[in-house]
């Protein structure tokens, strides 16, 4: 066969066997070569590219979480903290590490004295939890409780005690409106800033007041915690931690002691006190009471507490010092008198007060029915005679009065680090034409001169007015300690005229005038001032004929506002003050504006004596504001419980109740000021206007 096919390559068994051996060696060689390539490839990845893959492996394994930075402190002018950070101890359960859930919960409940409904809540959360997400057991623990848990950790697998920081306001409610509060960022805020810190659990931003205005300044740099995580996000262990950098502090012009004193001294009233340093316009106190407690707002307020605050007719949710607008009443009379002097009216010119005069078709009464008889300027201010000002104002006209009103700060919008401020109205003929398309009438002038009608002022403006009348300088209110400020412009009155006004305001308090209650208890310090009463309702002819009813007999909302503005010492003014009591009606003497203002000023000269008096008074009022608020809260909670028990479930949760009550009650919504005129819209100051100022 081999010989028959000579053209073909001869294949024998031996040749085939040889071919096989050769090819088997080729196959074996190829296998060896591929093996070598694989080793080479592995060496390339694990040696040459080791660094790259080690990094990738680390970035797989390690997860960074931000640690919220501690917020900068807010200090008063003496360095005393108005807002600081409290160490917050808390305990969580890591469900998947818990061995015996029931025993652990029982042990914890016993150690922390947890309420039964809390224990049920923990059990519930534990059932629903995803395994590695912590379940909160309790927060705001004392150090002793925290330590008690920590030492028992070996017996309590899955229990994780930790410490963080939460905002603390030592003065509580008295600084509520001044400082505002902090809270978790909303979805809108995150969308606007896109900062991952905003969605870090536990991080809070300023929500109101100075906390909001200086938010960036107070926010520090976050720390970071590195943890080992699985592909599914389960945390295996903590690796390293970089501490946060706390925010910078800011120093305010506020005097912490005075601020708290003013807040407490406002007693049970709905009112505000503003104190300004006459040397430079520094605001020493800006108190609006009653107020919310910023501590409970920052922790997340309960529905019940919010409902109580929003239903209160003393409007604790409104910052009255900036957002409250009131007819200034007779407190404008010294300003009007200054305008009269400027227009050439002599201080000794007299007007006879018969008790009422006719202006146009209307009879205008003096607050004293029988009349004051003949009065010069000093007497008219001291006795707060309306007829004198009716007569004189008609002589010089509204424009000159309005000009002076603007110069002493009425209707002026100040550049303040607060989100909203209502700045009131100073009416004049041009304004009325513009606003109502009506001609200015003589009775408008008459109304304006006694601070009624269209005229509106907020408490801060009233304090600024007092300071400007006292100094003759256009001082600007300021909140930042040591902030650079321009030399104030003069009001434009001569010293001679100012002396007349200061003397007359002294007579209001110390010369048998209407403000005797404000007489100073400090020897050598005489307080000058001016009282005011602002009507909130029209007195009908029928009522007038039947005798005006006393304020005490009226419903709260219909009572007059009580006002006082002044300064001390009268001959060399150092401090100016304004106090407005909403619907005070001058019914309780020691809770009326003049005495509150006087006591608050006395704190600046003799704190110990002032506090002693306050403590005596507080016994009659039922304790400090915090104590009273706690009692109010307890009563409210009880009332709610009774209501719920009597009425079969109308609404299960408090939130629904709250909204229902809010929509039903005519009470104004918290931030909205009563707005009788459109000139007082809330216009927030430009953001960060004072933001970068001195810390």
């Amino acid at each position: 066969m081999k010989f028959l096919t000579p053209k073909r390559k001869i294949v024998t068994e031996a040749a085939q066997s040889f071919t096989f051996s050769r090819r088997a060696m080729v196959v074996g060689g190829l296998q060896g070569a591929i093996g070598a390539v694989l080793i080479g490839r592995m060496a390339w990845i694990s040696v040459v590219q080791n660094e790259k893959y080690s990094l990738l492996s680390e970035s797989n394994r390690v997860n960074m979480t931000l640690i919220p930075p501690r917020r900068g402190w807010i200090l008063d002018r003496n360095g005393k903290p108005l807002a600081n950070n409290r160490t917050d101890f808390r305990v969580d359960l890591i469900p998947q590490r818990v061995v015996d859930a029931e025993a652990t919960i029982t042990h914890l409940a016993q150690l922390l004295k947890l309420e039964p409904d809390e224990v049920d809540r923990i059990r519930d959360d534990l059932d629903k939890s995803a395994g590695f997400r912590p379940v909160q057991v309790a927060d705001k623990l004392t150090y002793d409780q925290y330590a008690a848990i920590s030492v028992r950790l070996p017996d309590l697998p899955g229990v994780a005690p930790s410490q963080g920081f939460s905002r603390n306001y030592p003065a509580g409610a008295t600084v509520g409106h001044l400082l505002g509060y902090v809270g978790a960022a909303t979805a809108e805020e995150f969308k606007a800033r896109k900062d991952p810190l905003l969605i870090t659990p536990g991080f809070k931003i300023g929500k109101d007041g100075l906390e909001k205005a200086f938010d960036r300044h107070l926010t520090g740099k976050p720390g970071a915690k590195r943890v080992e995580v699985t592909a599914r996000g389960k945390i295996m262990q903590e690796l390293t931690t970089r501490q946060d950098t706390p925010g910078r502090s800011i120093k305010l012009t506020i005097d912490a002691g005075l601020q708290e004193y003013a807040g407490r001294r406002l007693a049970t009233q709905s009112g505000s006190v503003v104190v300004i340093d006459c040397q430079n316009g520094d605001v020493l106190a800006l108190a609006s009471m009653p107020s919310f407690d910023p501590n409970s707002f920052s922790d997340g307020i309960s529905h019940l507490e919010y409902e109580m605050l929003s239903k209160d007719d003393h409007v604790p949710l409104r910052n009255k010092t900036l957002q409250g607008l009131y007819p200034p009443g007779s407190t404008v009379k010294p300003m009007v008198a200054l305008a009269l002097l400027e227009a050439g009216v002599g201080p000794q010119e007299t007007v006879n007060c018969p008790g009422a005069i006719r202006v146009g078709n209307t009879l205008f009464h003096c607050h004293k029915k029988r009349g004051h008889g003949p009065l010069n300027m000093r007497g008219a201010i001291a006795q707060s005679c309306d007829i004198y000002f009716y007569q004189m104002a008609q002589r010089i006209g509204m424009d000159r009065i309005a000009s002076m009103a603007h110069r002493v700060g009425m209707g002026q919008k100040f550049d303040l680090p607060f989100p909203s401020q209502s700045y009131g109205t100073v009416p004049d003929p041009a304004w009325k034409e513009r606003k109502y398309n009506q001609k200015w009438q003589v009775y408008d002038t008459v109304n304006a001169t006694i601070g009624q009608g269209y005229m509106l002022i907020n408490p801060l403006q009233m304090a600024v007015m007092a300071a400007r009348l006292a100094t003759g300088k256009q001082l600007m209110p300021n909140f930042i300690h040591g902030a650079p400020r321009k030399e104030p412009a003069p009001v434009g009155s001569t010293e001679e005229h100012l002396v007349v006004i200061r003397d007359a305001m002294n007579a209001v308090v110390n010369g048998g005038g209407t403000g005797g209650a404000a007489r100073s208890s400090i020897p050598g310090v005489m307080i000058a001032g001016k009282t005011g009463t602002a009507q909130v309702r029209r007195i009908t002819m029928a009522e007038r004929a039947g005798g005006v009813r006393g304020n005490a007999g009226l419903p709260f909302k219909l009572r007059d506002h009580a006002l006082f503005q002044g300064f001390a010492p009268f001959d060399n003014p150092r401090y100016a003050i304004a106090c407005i009591i909403e619907h005070g009606g001058h019914t309780i003497r020691n809770e009326d504006a003049p005495m509150i203002a006087s006591d608050t000023l006395s704190y600046l000269f003799d704190p110990a004596k002032a506090l002693e008096k306050l403590e005596t008074l507080e016994k009659g009022w039922g304790g400090t504001p915090a104590e009273r608020q706690a009692r109010q809260m307890a009563a409210f909670r009880l009332a709610k419980a009774i209501e719920k028990g009597e009425v079969p479930p109308p609404a299960e949760n408090a939130a629904e109740n709250a909204t229902a009550a809010n929509s039903a009650a005519p009470a104004p919504a918290p931030p909205a000021p009563p707005a009788p005129s459109a000139d007082d819209e809330d216009v927030p100051p430009p953001p960060g206007a004072n933001g970068g100022a001195t810390p």
């Binding site: 066969m1 081999k2 096919t5 073909r8 390559k9 294949v11 024998t12 068994e13 085939q16 066997s17 071919t19 096989f20 051996s21 090819r23 088997a24 060696m25 196959v27 074996g28 296998q31 060896g32 591929i34 093996g35 694989l38 080793i39 490839r41 592995m42 060496a43 990845i45 694990s46 040696v47 590219q49 080791n50 790259k52 893959y53 080690s54 990738l56 492996s57 680390e58 797989n60 394994r61 080992e228 995580v229 699985t230 592909a231 599914r232 295996m236």
Partner: protein
């Protein structure tokens, strides 16, 4: 010449020791993959190794002629089973590879890997010597390979189909077909790959595309390869240490106990462990090729070399896959990847090679076999 009795010297101690070392290493890696627990994988794998080793030893006592006689019937049975899988397997999931026999899941394509080698070897052993360079030597082999290849490909199981094809072609090469045929078809294949690509399933195309550029989709389809390379690369030369692998223990590496067991090993044992393992496998292949080369019988020598190559394909395709040199095709690494089917197949191969080795030694007296 020796005081040791003949049955004991004949017993394939060295090769068993080699397999034991590889399997032990695999079991240790599975122990680590289960976060330091012998359950559920390591214990199972160990028991399986013992059972299949016993099976391989039983196989090694069977005369080689028996394998030759049963090659075609076995081929017919497995081919029928593959058709059955297509017909009754129903539609469960994307690919259909199993027949449920009640007591176990049967995967016929797995058996086809060694049987195609036996069949093709049997065909060329029967072919008269002079026919080897004729057309008659080519087309029957191509048909024998083509049917199972097509049936497995439409399951679809690209990895196994490739292994069947490669196993068959290897035996054709060893049989002595003209070299130009292989070179010519190699060139033709290179030309038609782009066309073939368009007939692949979407997920297969995806795997290939992502294999070419795994970083293009690190969280999606490229995730397996990316994480596997991270595991191997971060292991470095010495590895992170036993039970210290983060990629596997923190579950970043998918399939860390099955197809990507090598990556699990490499992370903890480093280049050192990888080289050790690859060299161990190379020793196994060296043994197989040497058995083939000293065997006189045509069927036996082609079978030994072909089965060795089959085991080699397991190892090579799997390692290329985990190192990012091949697409993810689902071929396990023998003795390392957890799973019964692949170990059964590999031990079948080993058992048959041992039988061939034993027969060769019987004939030529005691010769140095390794």
């Amino acid at each position: 010449m020796s005081i040791v009795p003949k049955p004991i010297t004949e017993f394939p101690w060295r090769i068993l020791a080699l397999l034991l070392v590889i399997a032990l290493f695999g079991t240790v890696v599975l122990y680590s993959a289960a976060s330091g627990s012998i359950f559920p994988w390591a214990a199972n794998q160990g028991v399986r190794f013992c059972v299949f080793s016993a099976m391989a030893l039983v196989l090694s006592r069977i005369p080689v002629t028996t394998f030759a006689r049963f090659a075609f019937p076995a081929y017919g049975a497995v081919l029928a089973a593959l058709v059955l899988v297509e017909l009754i397997g129903g539609v469960a999931g994307g690919s259909q590879r199993w027949i449920n026999l009640g007591f176990m899941q049967l995967q016929p394509s797995e058996f086809m890997k060694p049987i195609i080698v036996l069949t093709i070897a049997r065909f060329y052993a029967m072919l008269p010597v002079g026919e080897i360079r004729r057309w008659n030597a080519i087309w029957p082999a191509l048909i024998l390979i083509g049917f199972p290849w097509a049936l497995v490909l439409i399951q679809p199981d690209l990895g196994t189909a490739t292994m069947i094809l490669a196993g068959g072609i290897t035996v054709m090469f060893l049989a002595g077909l003209p070299l130009r045929l292989f070179i010519g078809s190699g060139l033709t294949l290179a030309a038609i790959i782009p066309i073939a690509f368009s007939f692949l399933h979407d997920y297969q195309k995806n795997r290939i595309l992502i294999f070419l550029d795994p970083e293009s989709d690190p969280l999606g389809a490229g995730y397996h390869i990316s994480q596997s390379k991270i595991a191997i690369g971060s292991g470095g030369i010495w590895g992170k240490g036993f039970l210290q692998g983060t990629q596997s223990h923190l579950q970043y590496l998918p399939e860390g106990h099955t197809d990507f067991a090598f990556a699990t090993m490499a992370e903890e044992w480093g280049l050192l462990g990888g080289t050790f393992l690859i060299l161990a496998f190379m020793l196994l292949f060296r043994w197989g090729i040497r058995v083939a080369m000293r065997t006189e019988d045509k069927f036996a020598r082609m079978t030994a070399a072909g089965l060795t190559t089959t085991i080699f394909f397991y190892v090579a395709i799997n390692l290329m896959m985990v190192m990012g040199l091949a697409p993810v095709v689902g071929i396990p690494l023998p003795f390392m990847s957890y799973g019964g089917s692949s170990m059964l197949t590999v031990m079948l191969c080993v058992g048959i090679i041992m039988a061939i080795d034993r027969a060769g030694k019987r004939r030529s007296g005691s010769r140095n076999w390794a």
